[in-house]
């Protein structure tokens, strides 16, 4: 196990370095941040002073080397706007995104598995058709539209849930359902396909022939073998949702890292964007590392390799 982890660490560093380099370059392609920071009526002297203060007057290569050097020491710098350490800002927001993405993953995984199983068990009957149609719609509808309509129906008209912001679990329902809708649809289709395959297999036929209850056949034998696919999908979903939550966070005014990145990009607050990207990249690589570890528990064949 220790050896496995040690072998993974260099790869993780390369992935994170790559993400940071891409974001560093992309940000600098977007124009002078100083121009956006100051009023339209600012003077060249003012702009030069701000540029020098922020280190933006140095050559891009020098800026990059300083930037990578700081990150190597886990120094993410200070926000241009908030004048506070970026690490503080990102860590304040990270739990909210983890909460939202986690809830969305739970909805997608549990809901998708149950719906996919139901559809597989009742293949070609109306529940299957209903689930498949629902999954198709779920994969087609844009997230922002779904969120806005969800607010109008469930918050304004029915008044079941709050319209925006964070707080108790009631605040989490609509954003999590919105964020998880696409993944729920995706998981449903994959779980359905995987379950159909499992239920058609010889070991399932044997289990049925032995007279086992359907729930045991599906829930223990079939599901366990579909589990690797579902787990892989879950990890993929979580990492995607971590980075893709920003639309949902903006629609629902959810105070997460996604909104922080949007604000940072719009206001050219480079350090904040870089710090947020670093954190999301770190969460993603850790997620996949844990996934690899989980494989070894699910599949005995992998433990021997």
């Amino acid at each position: 196990m220790a050896g496995y982890l040690l072998r993974r660490i260099p790869r993780m560093i390369v992935v994170i370095w790559g993400a940071l380099t891409v974001i560093f370059l992309l940000q600098r392609l977007g124009g002078d941040p100083v121009a956006l920071m100051l009023p339209d009526t600012s003077t060249p002297e003012q702009q030069a002073a701000v540029r020098a203060d922020l280190g933006l007057d140095k050559p891009v290569l020098v800026q990059y080397l300083l930037f990578i050097g700081r990150f190597a020491h886990l120094d993410f710098g200070q926000s241009y706007l908030q004048q506070r350490p970026v690490a503080d800002i990102v860590f304040e927001r990270l739990p909210a995104t983890l909460e939202l993405a986690g809830a969305a993953v739970v909805i997608a995984t549990v809901g998708g598995t149950l719906l996919g199983s139901l559809a597989a068990r009742m293949r070609r009957r109306w529940p299957d058709k209903l689930v498949v149609t629902g999954a198709l719609i779920g994969q087609s509808v844009p997230t922002f539209w779904l969120g806005i309509v969800g607010i109008l129906v469930f918050a304004v008209t029915l008044q079941w849930f709050p319209s925006s912001g964070s707080g108790g679990i009631e605040h989490l329902v609509l954003p999590a359902l919105t964020l998880g809708a696409f993944s729920l649809a995706n998981t449903t289709r994959i779980a359905r396909a995987s379950m159909i395959e499992s239920l058609s297999s010889e070991y399932t036929q044997t289990a049925n022939a032995k007279g086992l209850r359907t729930s045991r056949v599906v829930g223990v034998h079939a599901l366990k073998n579909s589990g690797i696919s579902i787990l892989t999908l879950t990890a993929y979903m979580f990492s995607t949702l971590m980075g893709g939550a920003l639309v949902t966070e903006v629609v629902f005014a959810w105070p997460g890292v996604g909104r922080l990145m949007v604000d940072g990009v719009l206001q050219r607050d480079f350090p904040v964007v870089q710090g947020a990207v670093f954190m999301v990249a770190l969460v993603v690589v850790i997620t996949y590392m844990l996934l690899d570890l989980a494989y070894t528990f699910l599949d005995p064949r992998l433990r021997r390799t």
Binding site: G30, G31, D32, P33, A35, L36, M37, L38, P39, D40, S42, T43, P44, E45, Q46, A49, V50, D53, L81, Q82, Q83, R84, I89, E92, V110, G111, L114, L115, L118, R121, M122, P127, I148, I151, L152, F154, A155, V156, L158, Q159, W160, F161, P162, S163, S164, G165, G168, I169, E170, V173, S200, Q205, N208, T214, S215, V218, V251, A253, P255, L260
Partner: protein, 516 residues
């Protein structure tokens, strides 16, 4: 081969049904807001399009942040009514256009007990001047020295005449010297001011919660708690109001007006100080050096139709001027050039462009209210009179880069803010010959602007600036269209909230009622 038949018990369906029922039962009923409870408690939640990230008046970067600072800080002068009035200063008088004396009200204290006196004022201005990054430093950069005459009197000496110096102090937010020096960086999240409110909790960019300052020197607010909550998505902000989660929705789009009124909420329209304009670059060798071409462009555009369509009639007709009606320099006798495509073609023919011409048109995407739609509509009008428009839409940062480099246009869509100065000279400064944006090079305009700064008498200054307004319009250095819509929606139980063209919110008289 056949799959096993479904038995009476269908486990996945059963679990799913129970799960959905449990979630709905546990979470349902969490909506509906608590507007009634907040009204009874004199509490107010305002859904904002953004929340400041920084309460330090010299390090924040957006004029929209002034909206937040004025809850906590005071300035020497207020321009809420359009003309400078004493605020923390009891009086201000010009000794001459380069020397002003301000007397400060006695007894004003910061919430930490420090006095707002001449030393606090001197410290505030010096701090802003010392830091070249201060966003509003350009407004006070003529300040050469300050002399404290007595604890409540300070003299400002200026390097050049500044006839509207009092208006310029309206963006200098006064901070406590001792607290600021001893707690470097503290003002960002823990501001100490003399304003009507104090900051209780602050999540930068998310939420600011205020409570009344018990030692405020003026009318104490009736509200007990004010929460400024960031809801950047326009439709969500309106939905939050309709759901009762917030009490005021700040700056709503005209698209939601019917929904708001139909839902029993109040809609307030306050003309914005932000105006839609196009500017012409006359410093380069383009057809726009000819005033007839510029005037032709003005005649070619149906400004009334533009305003009705773009702002859904919630914007104000600026009548061809850069400032609003209550601003210094507004000329009530001026009218915008009417929509007259034939006249436009005639002027182009006289200028030698009977067969048309091609002009570049820069505009930003999403920086200003409906900038893309307005610019495209303008392009359509110009095409109709024979001007081929080469549109250059670009992202905000790229647009600014070109503007500062002076290499734009020669037509540029630019929305400018009249408030909080409400003074034409504040706006016209960008037309100076030495301005890096290279809009114009007109010695007469430069001279008129310089002369306006030597006049300290407000009425005389206003009269002179109206002449400048006429000259600028005659020369057609710009075409002014309309002010942006300024719409605010609120629950019927909210009274006394006042919105200003400068985006400021006055809560001095605000209170909650039973809404009947």
């Amino acid at each position: 081969m056949q799959l096993p038949r479904v038995r009476r018990r269908n486990f996945p369906l059963l679990v799913l049904t129970i799960a959905v029922a449990l979630v709905a039962a546990a979470c349902g009923g969490g909506g509906g807001g608590d507007a009634g409870g907040r009204a009874a408690d004199q509490s107010l939640i305002i859904g904002m399009d953004h929340v400041t990230q920084n309460f330090d008046p010299i390090s924040a970067t957006a004029t929209a942040d002034y909206t937040y600072w004025r809850f906590v800080y005071d300035t020497l002068v207020s321009t809420d009514d359009g003309t400078p009035k004493p605020w923390a200063a009891e009086s201000f008088d010009p000794i001459d256009a380069k020397h002003w004396r301000f007397k400060i009200r006695d007894g004003i204290k910061f919430t930490n007990g420090e006095p707002l006196d001449a030393e606090a004022v001197r410290y505030t201005f010096q701090r802003a001047l010392d830091d070249k990054k201060t966003p509003w430093r350009v407004r006070i950069e003529a300040l050469q020295k300050m002399v404290i005459v007595d604890p409540l009197t300070i003299d400002f000496y200026l390097a050049t005449p500044v006839g509207n110096w009092p208006a310029r102090t309206s963006v200098a937010w006064i901070v406590p010297p001792k607290y600021t020096e001893e707690n470097k960086g503290a003002l960002v999240t823990k501001p100490i001011g003399t304003g009507p409110f104090k900051l209780d909790t602050f999540s930068p960019g998310e939420k600011a919660v205020l409570s009344p300052n018990p030692d405020f020197w003026n009318t104490k607010p009736q509200l007990k708690r004010v929460e400024l909550r960031s809801i950047p998505e326009d439709s969500t902000r309106v939905s939050a109001l309709m759901a009762g989660d917030i009490d005021v929705a700040y700056r709503v789009l005209p698209d939601f007006a019917d929904q708001i009124k139909g839902g029993g909420k109040k809609l307030v329209s306050v003309p914005s100080g932000q105006s839609a304009n196009i500017f012409f670059q006359t410093t380069t060798n383009t057809p726009l050096k000819d005033v007839r071409v510029r005037q032709a462009i003005d005649y070619a555009i149906d400004k009334d139709a533009l305003r009705k369509t773009i702002t859904q009639d919630y914007g104000t007709d600026l009548k061809g001027q850069l400032v609003g009606e209550k601003s210094v320099g507004y000329n009530a006798e001026l009218q915008a050039r009417p929509y007259d495509p034939d006249k436009a073609k005639q002027l182009l023919a006289e200028a030698g462009y009977k067969n048309g011409l091609t002009l570049g048109f820069d505009y930003s995407l999403g920086r200003y209210y409906r900038d893309k739609e307005t610019a495209q509509a303008i392009s359509g009008y110009l095409q109709a009179v024979g001007i081929t428009v080469k549109q250059n839409p670009m992202e905000s940062g790229a647009w600014l880069d070109r503007l500062y480099a002076g290499s734009w246009g020669p037509i540029n869509y630019w929305s400018i803010q009249d408030a909080p100065a409400y003074d034409l000279s504040w706006t016209v400064e960008i037309f100076r010959s030495d301005n890096i944006r290279k809009i114009d090079a007109d010695p007469k305009l430069d001279g008129m602007l310089d002369h306006s700064f030597t006049i300290t008498d407000p009425e005389e200054r206003s009269d002179y600036l109206t002449e400048l307004a006429k000259y600028a319009q005659d020369e057609a250095y710009f075409v002014a269209f309309h002010s942006d819509p300024g719409l605010y929606a609120m629950d019927p139980s909210v009274e006394g909230v006042k919105f200003l063209p400068s985006t400021y919110i006055n809560l001095f008289d605000a209170k909650r009622t039973n809404g009947s």
